[in-house]
């Protein structure tokens, strides 16, 4: 079958603003959108810029806006799309070129919540592993799945209008530690997330949950963090 792709293009060296370009591609229903972008890049228009690596939804390189919603190009198949497909870069971050955006604002939000294990026994570390029950481990399982693709954060209307907002992915990564029984940094993180650029900016639009290619219940994680911040109880 033939599909039409309209891709939002922008090259800062030659363009003053972005514009759509249209391509016709022969496709199989089981093709990934990434396969079509490759077909364009490899045989029709070599200049198309897109990030990608693993090609099966794990590395998080190729989040794009597909017909208005955020998806990984390697995880959405032609059979689930109409025959006219619009592809745009994710929103809320400066476009470097075509579908490639500057990820630095996203990673800045991530780093702001101290996404690493904080313990008070660093000096006297156990010689074996720390003990954690399967139930304690299950408590934060969902948020360990995050691949930092930015699909959630760049789908959030609050993030679009306010770059200072840490964004859903950062809160997800804070959640991953706040609810980890081995971690003792919850207070520090909840303080950061209670500040004006933190979790309370969330207006539960649910775009993030819909956008997550890993099926993380992002909005719920944010709600749990807000609860924890209000009651300081983890």
């Amino acid at each position: 079958m033939e599909v039409t792709l309209k891709v939002l293009r922008f090259n800062p060296e030659t363009d003053t603003e972005s514009h759509f370009e249209e391509y016709k591609v022969e496709a199989d229903p089981m093709d990934r959108l990434l396969d079509l972008l490759h077909e364009i890049k490899w045989y029709q228009d070599h200049s198309l810029a897109v990030r990608r690596s693993c090609g099966h939804g794990i590395c998080g390189s190729d989040a794009v806006v597909v017909n208005g919603v955020n998806r990984l190009a390697c995880k959405i198949l032609v059979k689930d799309l109409p025959s006219e497909i619009t592809v745009e870069p994710i929103r809320g971050m400066p476009v470097i070129r075509d579908l490639v955006v500057d990820m630095e604002p996203f990673f800045a939000g991530y780093r702001a919540v101290k996404p690493w294990l904080i313990t008070d026994d660093r000096e006297h570390e156990p010689d074996r592993e720390r003990i954690q029950s399967p139930e304690e481990r299950a408590r934060f399982d969902d948020t360990t799945k995050c691949i930092l693709c930015a699909a959630c954060t760049s789908s959030c209307p609050i993030f679009w209008s306010d770059e200072e907002y840490v964004g859903p992915a950062a809160i997800v990564n804070a959640h991953r530690f706040i609810f980890d029984s081995r971690d003792s940094g919850a207070d520090e993180r909840l303080q950061i997330l209670s500040s004006k650029n933190g979790a309370f900016k969330c207006r539960t639009a649910f775009n993030c949950t819909d956008a997550c290619p890993r099926g993380i219940k992002v909005t719920m994680a944010i709600q749990e963090v807000k609860q924890a911040a209000l009651y300081r109880s983890v």
């Binding site: 090259n11 800062p12 060296e13 030659t14 089981m30 990934r32 890049k41 490899w42 045989y43 070599h46 200049s47 810029a49 897109v50 990030r51 990608r52 690596s53 693993c54 090609g55 099966h56 939804g57 794990i58 590395c59 998080g60 390189s61 995880k75 198949l77 470097i96 070129r97 075509d98 490639v100 990820m103 780093r111 101290k114 996404p115 690493w116 294990l117 570390e125 156990p126 010689d127 074996r128 592993e129 720390r130 003990i131 954690q132 029950s133 399967p134 304690e136 481990r137 934060f140 399982d141 360990t144 799945k145 995050c146 691949i147 930092l148 530690f177 980890d180 081995r182 971690d183």
Partner: protein, 579 residues
């Protein structure tokens, strides 16, 4: 000083598991930078699924010595046994260390790190399968990569992301840094350093069907090869038995560790015929070969009888959903098959490079088969060959390798930096790289490079994958030479300096061609079958002539030369590999 010159003690190329583990260690002792062509979390370590092994004995009796035996036997006795001992002894501490960094391993009912079975790992020298793989569902690599990235952020490690390394600086036989291309701007940067570590990962993209990322193109080993330095055991490439049909996306061996069974088109559990004791959990080379034979002899499944089925229907659905969630989703998403209800069409997929840049156990790169090193130059992870995996790597031994030898690399660099000075390098050290990039956009291309890449991948798959012959390898050598000529005429059409990914792919293809050349030449010379290298015309292992490592290098006039290095033996004498 010219623009874009950076000075560090240690520069690490690659931000996968090996690179990040090295960075954590090196940056404690000296000024360190990590240079990576991708954001760290995009590295293919994140795709690793099944586990990382260590004889923790949390679930069953186990010992590092049994682990070492399995590694050597799995490697068809080509592993250097001193290096294997180092890896298996340090395994336990490596896993515990990751746990203490916060890695969320699955847990036993009493809260310890849980362990499960994996191919080729046994108790007491082959008696029965043992639970040795530590895991986090089927996302172990993801958790390792995330945990190491978290720790690097905590420690303030300096990153140069989306910088593509083009050249390795060697002056008077000593390593002095690297030259890199900044993808976002097209600028060339020079990094001077006392120590450089390559951790650039594998090169499965030379094959049509692979579990490897688009970006796994052998840039590190390719660069080493271009410098005239040797590569080791490149003919040994692992084909994993369960790649998704046509796509090659991996379904972890953990699927069989949890009870999955392989069936042919007649519904027969064919591994019973090939490995009566451990059946579906035999080492990967044996299972992949068995699949090829089943298909070749007309017992494949499907309308074209060209795949086998991975049957998970007898495994408890709760176990499948809880311990194998990602691969279940891959089958559903990409093939539209529900593993809870039906067999998943699978084929062998090009998976792992046992060979690579030769190093000693301290990750110092070897200059020749005699064992002298290149001072200041280190390599670790899949791009390196220590050699612990010999002719065939056991599952879960690579995540272990990258952590053990990544750490050793970091320590080694910090020590080296403490006792040496920056070497002098010419002012125009970046000139060859600048000229090279300029030449790529000079002129018209007769064909898109994608066409060249596709032909290479198909040729390598048809003639140089699971089953090899002298004739096929001879043809492949000619094809690769011909593809190299086509490549030399190709040019980059996109002239932009900003995020020119056509240019990046162009450079990557050049490295894959180098690696394909080294592979086919090494493979043709080795007239025996061992581990991942199977010759239909020499079906037996030949220890009398071939119990040795291949070293291949390019001479200044462009020829290739083969040399051999004896295997370091130890407790285990070669015996026939039966399971």
């Amino acid at each position: 000083m010219p623009n874009n010159v950076h000075i560090y003690d240690a520069v690490i190329v690659g931000a996968g598991g090996a690179g990040l583990r090295a960075a954590l260690e090196a940056s404690k002792g000296c000024k360190t930078a990590v240079v990576s062509k991708m954001y760290p979390t995009r590295s293919h370590t994140g795709a690793a699924q099944g586990g990382m092994c260590a004889a923790l004995a949390n679930v069953e009796e186990d010992s590092w010595e049994w682990h070492a035996f399995d590694t050597v036997k799995g490697g068809d006795f080509l592993s250097d046994q001193d290096a294997v001992d180092v890896m298996c002894q340090e395994a336990v501490e490596s896993v515990l260390d990751l746990e203490r960094m916060g890695l969320p391993f699955n847990r036993t009912p009493d809260g310890k790190i849980d362990q499960r079975r994996f191919g080729g790992h046994t108790r007491n020298h082959g008696e029965a399968a043992v639970k040795r793989a530590c895991y986090a569902a089927d996302r172990t690599g993801h958790m390792i990569l995330q945990t190491l990235f978290q720790q690097c952020n905590k420690q303030g490690v300096e990153f140069y992301n989306e910088f593509f390394v083009l050249d390795l600086i060697i002056e008077g036989g000593v390593c002095g840094g690297i030259v890199a291309y900044e993808i976002a701007t097209g600028e060339i940067h020079t990094f001077r350093a006392k120590a450089v570590l390559f951790a650039t990962g594998g090169y499965g993209k030379m094959f049509k069907i692979t579990s490897n990322a688009h970006t796994l193109t052998g840039d590190g080993p390719g660069l080493v090869y271009r410098k005239g330095l040797p590569l080791e055991d490149i003919e040994f490439f692992q084909f994993h038995p369960t790649g998704l049909y046509r796509l090659g996306i991996l379904l972890s061996e953990a699927a069989r560790g949890e009870g999955g069974i392989l069936r042919n088109g007649d519904g027969e559990r064919f591994m019973e015929r090939y490995a009566p004791t451990i059946k579906d959990l035999a080492p990967r080379d044996m299972v992949s070969r068995a699949e090829f034979f089943e298909i070749k002899e007309g017992r494949g499944a499907g309308p074209n009888k060209d795949y086998v089925l991975l049957d998970l229907t007898a495994v408890d659905p709760e176990v499948v959903e809880a311990k194998l969630p990602d691969i279940t989703e891959f089958a559903r998403t990409y093939l539209g098959v529900d593993p809870l209800k039906e067999g998943v069409p699978t084929v062998p997929t090009a998976h792992y490079a046992m060979g690579g840049i030769p190093t000693n156990v301290n990750t110092e790169v070897l200059r020749s088969a005699h064992g002298e090193v290149v001072p200041g130059f280190y390599a670790a992870g899949e791009c390196a060959c220590v050699s612990v995996h010999g002719a065939n790597r056991l599952g879960t031994n690579s995540l272990l390798d990258i952590i053990v030898f990544g750490r050793r690399g970091g320590l080694g660099m910090a020590e080296h930096a403490a006792r040496t000075k920056l070497i002098d390098i010419p002012d125009d050290v970046a000139k060859p790289s600048e000229d090279w990039i300029a030449s790529l956009t000079d002129g018209q291309s007769p064909e898109p490079i994608a066409a060249i890449r596709k032909d290479l991948q198909e040729e390598m798959w048809d003639k140089v994958s699971v089953l090899r012959t002298d004739e096929g390898l001879g043809q492949a050598i000619n094809s690769v030479a011909h593809l190299r000529e086509r490549y030399a005429k190709a040019r980059v059409k996109d002239r932009s300096k900003v995020f020119n990914t056509e240019l990046v792919e162009h450079i990557e293809l050049g490295f894959i061609i180098d690696m394909a050349e080294a592979l086919v030449i090494s493979a043709k010379a080795r007239t025996e079958s061992r581990g991942g290298h199977y010759r239909e015309d020499h079906q037996k292992r030949d220890d009398e002539h071939w119990l040795k490592h291949t070293f291949i290098n390019k001479t200044p006039d462009g020829d290739t030369r083969l040399a051999y290095k004896p295997v370091t033996m130890g407790r285990y004498e070669p015996v026939e590999r039966k399971y």
